[in-house]
């Protein structure tokens, strides 16, 4: 029964939250571009949890990951006027900023070796993390479960290459050097893995591959 009250509080808050009308993300970014910090706070409330999760996955260190979240939202403030909604949603844009910041830090501190050592363990960890937080509602949990299930259907070597690329910022040639596989094989695995994931999550048949 540990954490029961916290878990239920999260559920109740989430259910209550879904009943409130959500202001459109793109409108909030436009308000941020007009120097409205209240709008930035709303974006922070919506997306900081995911940004921090990605930064922690990349860096492993909570304190450093929180600094990345700070940097990311200051960058959102500065670059809001450049946001182009036709290129993707606010969640994608903000997550990409946080991810890029985290990857930059990872490269700076030369911790790729550390990350690579943990790659296999981390790959297994996807789908088994159960630290549900008050930020999530039931729908989010269901969506996350669906993505985790889709990831589990990928062959391990395909899953490894996309995780090395996304969570460690490695290029295809860097992945080839790290895994010892030919570059062409790595490229094929990246393409096949992403096609399969896209087909499972968004429809359309994969083109086949390694």
């Amino acid at each position: 029964m540990m954490g029961y009250e916290a878990v239920m509080l999260g559920f109740l808050l989430a259910v209550a939250g879904t009943k409130l009308a959500r202001e459109d993300d793109a409108q909030l970014i436009a308000r941020v571009a007009d120097r409205d910090s209240a709008a930035l706070r709303k974006l922070y409330d919506r997306f900081s949890g995911r940004a921090l999760a990605v930064a922690m996955r990349i860096l492993g260190a909570p304190a450093e990951a929180e600094e990345v979240v700070q940097d990311a939202f200051v960058e959102v403030w500065r670059r809001a006027a450049q946001y182009d909604a036709s290129r993707g949603g606010a969640a994608t844009w903000i997550t990409a900023i946080a991810r890029n910041r985290a990857i930059d830090r990872l490269r700076t501190r030369g911790a790729q070796a550390r990350a690579a050592e943990g790659a296999e363990k981390e790959a297994q960890a996807v789908g088994t993390v159960a630290s549900s937080t008050p930020l999530e509602d039931v729908e989010q949990v269901q969506a996350r479960t669906r993505i985790q299930d889709a990831l589990k259907t990928l062959p391990p070597e395909q899953r490894l290459v996309i995780e090395l690329a996304y969570f460690e910022g490695l290029s295809q040639s860097e992945i080839a050097a790290k895994t010892g596989d030919p570059l062409g094989t790595v490229k094929g695995r990246v393409r096949s893995a992403m096609e399969k994931l896209a087909a499972l999550l968004h429809g359309r048949e994969p083109r086949g591959g390694l």
Binding site: L12, S37, A39, A53, Q70, Q142, I147, I162, Q172
Partner: protein, 277 residues
């Protein structure tokens, strides 16, 4: 870079896995006017890459993180209007002009408020319609599940309740990531003499039982009965609908080693209060 080249490597582009010179060439290609599906493929792959981020449970930052962001914005002289900055109207020198502006502002504000109220009403109407469609979908789903299973007396009763006008429904959703294939609905008849949980995917574990809970608030979970699955994994459990009289009740289904315990041990499914289709 041709469109075919771009589409061949668009997955790596979306993952950020291209070499710097490749990425520059691809960026340049995207700035070209005509494409053969490049932008669609890019949007699809970027959404797929984003799903990797969404596979992680969100982690709430500490309160100091936002405080530090505010400090940094302030330090950069970027304090904003929403943050309570020091902008003030300077009207003393042109009182007549200011009065005119005030009148115009009030008129515009009134117009904005009316438009906002109209938009709110429209939004509420669309939400209500969506809710009705969702409840109808749940009712159909429930009928289908029951029709597929071997129909017991309890299931026949639920089918009868589903046909009655005013029946209330709520869908039980997965509460933890490890719940696969487990689902169900809460069904309450219109005059509230009967209430049911209709579930599927239940797999009995030795020494453990499924239990239904009603949660009027955090501190007082009310056990609403055990859920006994049949051999095919379906379960119909009836419970006293009077527990629903408590305001803002939520439902949960838990896995229990000791059903006499006063609180749920491991919550698997959860649902908000039932609504009328």
């Amino acid at each position: 870079v041709t469109c075919a080249d771009f589409k061949e490597q668009v997955a790596a582009y979306a993952l950020g896995a291209l070499e710097p010179d490749e990425r520059r060439a691809f960026d340049e290609h995207l700035r070209e006017g005509r494409h053969e599906g490049c932008l669609d493929e890019l949007a699809r792959m970027e959404a797929t890459a984003q799903s990797l981020a969404e596979s992680l449970p969100p982690v709430k930052p500490g309160a100091h993180v936002w405080k530090r962001i505010e400090e940094r914005l302030g330090a950069e002289g970027l304090r904003a209007s929403g943050g309570g900055g020091g902008r003030r109207w300077q009207v003393l020198s042109v009182l007549v002009a200011a009065a005119a502006m005030l009148v115009i502002w009030l008129l515009l504000k009134q117009k904005d408020e009316l438009e906002e109220r109209l938009a709110d009403a429209d939004s509420q109407r669309m939400l209500a319609q969506a809710e009705i469609r969702e409840q109808q979908r749940l009712a159909n789903e429930c009928r289908t599940e029951l029709a597929k299973a071997k129909v017991s007396d309890a299931q026949k009763q639920v089918l009868a309740v589903l046909e009655r006008k005013g029946t209330q429904l709520a869908q039980l959703g997965a509460f933890t990531p490890d719940v696969q294939g487990l689902g169900g609905n809460i069904v309450v008849d219109p005059d509230r003499k009967l209430a049911y949980l209709v579930g599927n995917g239940f797999k009995p574990e030795p020494g453990k039982t499924y239990q239904l809970w009603v949660l009027p608030d955090l501190e007082h979970p009310v056990p609403a009965g055990l859920v006994q699955p049949e051999a095919n994994g379906t379960a119909v459990a009836s419970f006293d609908p009077s527990v629903l009289d408590q305001a803002k009740a939520f439902f949960a289904v838990s896995l229990e080693a000791d059903p006499s315990d006063a609180k749920p041990e491991k919550i698997l499914l959860a649902a908000a209060a039932p609504k009328t289709p």
